[in-house]
């Protein structure tokens, strides 16, 4: 069924795409190791965050917290804000986003296009600083609705109810699930669902090793672990450097023709590392990973210039 009553209704049911050329060759006689990308850019505003945004807004409407004409506040450096802005526009809410000042121009343009107001936070500390400032603003405006993706159980539930079941229905033979860490909603929700269906599935987190500015905290006590995070869901966790992430995003484009955003490069790098381990051990594997969004919002960073020097763009990559 590909007919829907509205844009919101078309959420999810994204395709799971094989990577026949990027998947490594098994040793002679050994079972296949296959990589599968879940194309989350095929959501209403082009990212996996549409699932989170719609679920958080619907939960807040149901609980009575979110009433007609209300103002929603959210710290975001892009995708969640863009998703919330679309839903808020359609449902008649106002949206205020707190976003680091140094994010790419496309993200400001998209947020404004859907009518969001932006309050910029200082670049040093990245999203940490946006979260801190948003909490401060939330305390000053008790009438605003603070959805807070890092601690809102509706975020995890969105992936438990949709992303996880979709992957399992398409790939019941799944052996590994690889996704970005971020708010941890995807890994916690889809990870828990997959583990219930297949106790031996490996749940693997990949996070980018950000540029230095993102780690520019005033002190270690200002560090941050999302309230949704439950380490027991994960099997392994990787931090992937900028060079590896950019290389993988370019490979995805050049070898499979898929145009992905930068964070997907970090996820693919971890997935390929797992795939190689499986090949070396002579084991078969079906490794599903999340392609969070397409590359449109990051064109201005220069990441898709094949010869572009990674060091020169590193500062903008994860802003």
């Amino acid at each position: 069924m590909t007919r829907y009553e509205s844009l919101e209704d078309s959420l999810g049911h994204t395709p799971l795409i094989g990577l026949p050329k990027l998947s490594p060759k098994s040793k002679p006689g050994a079972p296949a190791v296959r990589l599968w990308a879940k194309l989350e850019d095929r959501n209403p505003t082009g990212s996996i965050k549409d699932r989170t945004a719609l679920a958080m807004i619907e939960a807040a409407e149901k609980s009575g917290q979110l009433k007609a004409g209300a103002t929603i506040l959210e710290p975001t450096s892009g995708n969640t804000g863009i998703s919330l802005a679309m839903v808020a526009k359609v449902r008649g809410y106002k949206l205020v986003c707190v976003m680091p000042e140094n994010t790419s121009i496309e993200r400001t343009q998209l947020l404004k296009m859907w009518g969001a107001e932006i309050i910029y936070s200082q670049p040093a500390g990245g999203s940490n600083e946006a979260v801190r400032l948003a909490k401060e603003i939330a305390a000053e405006h008790p009438d605003w609705v603070f959805l807070y993706q890092y601690g809102n159980p509706a975020n995890t539930l969105a992936h438990y109810n949709t992303t996880g079941p979709e992957i399992f229905a398409d790939l019941p033979e799944i052996t590994h699930f690889v996704a970005g860490l971020g708010t941890t909603g995807t890994l916690m929700g889809a990870g828990k669902y997959l583990r219930e269906k297949k106790p031996d599935v490996q749940i693997i987190a990949a996070e980018p090793r950000y540029g230095e500015v993102v780690y520019g905290l005033r002190n270690l006590e200002a560090g941050f672990v999302p309230e949704l995070y439950d380490a027991s869901v994960l099997t392994r966790r990787f931090a992937v450097g900028a060079e590896d992430s950019v290389r993988r995003v370019r490979e995805l484009l050049n070898i499979e023709g898929i145009f992905a955003g930068i964070s997907t490069g970090a996820i693919l790098h971890a997935a390929l590392g797992i795939a190689k381990e499986c090949v070396d051990a002579g084991k078969g594997a079906d490794i599903a990973f999340i392609l969070c969004d397409a590359g449109w919002k990051y064109l201005s960073t220069g990441v898709y210039d094949q010869d572009g020097d990674v060091e020169a763009i590193e500062g903008q990559l994860w802003a």
Binding site: N79, E221, P226, A239
Partner: protein, 94 residues
């Protein structure tokens, strides 16, 4: 035989390493490497550990993998391994 590894230091801890971004340390486990760091850079160990455990907002990776999902402080190290220390942050694009 002790292994020699390179340890990458985050900005926030560089005051302890005379602003060096990467330093070398010795040990066959992560725990030994942290002791080696602390003996060369006084006070650094205490910024990483609390009551003998990794601090909540400190993440340590061996060859890009989080040690909390490996052997923790007992994670074995071999010559040439890369150890990266990073503060836990909310990160980039959300």
């Amino acid at each position: 035989m002790s292994s020699s590894v390179e340890v990458r230091i985050p900005t926030i801890l560089r005051p302890y390493t005379k602003n060096e971004k990467a330093v070398s340390a010795q040990g066959v486990t992560l725990s030994e490497v942290i002791s080696s760091l602390d003996s060369n850079y006084a006070g650094l160990g205490e910024r990483l550990l609390e009551n003998g455990e990794l601090r909540r907002f400190i993440n340590i990776y061996v060859n890009d993998e989080d040690v909390r999902f490996m052997g923790g402080l007992s994670t074995p190290l071999k010559d040439g391994d890369s150890v990266t220390i990073l503060p836990a942050v909310a990160g980039g694009c959300k």
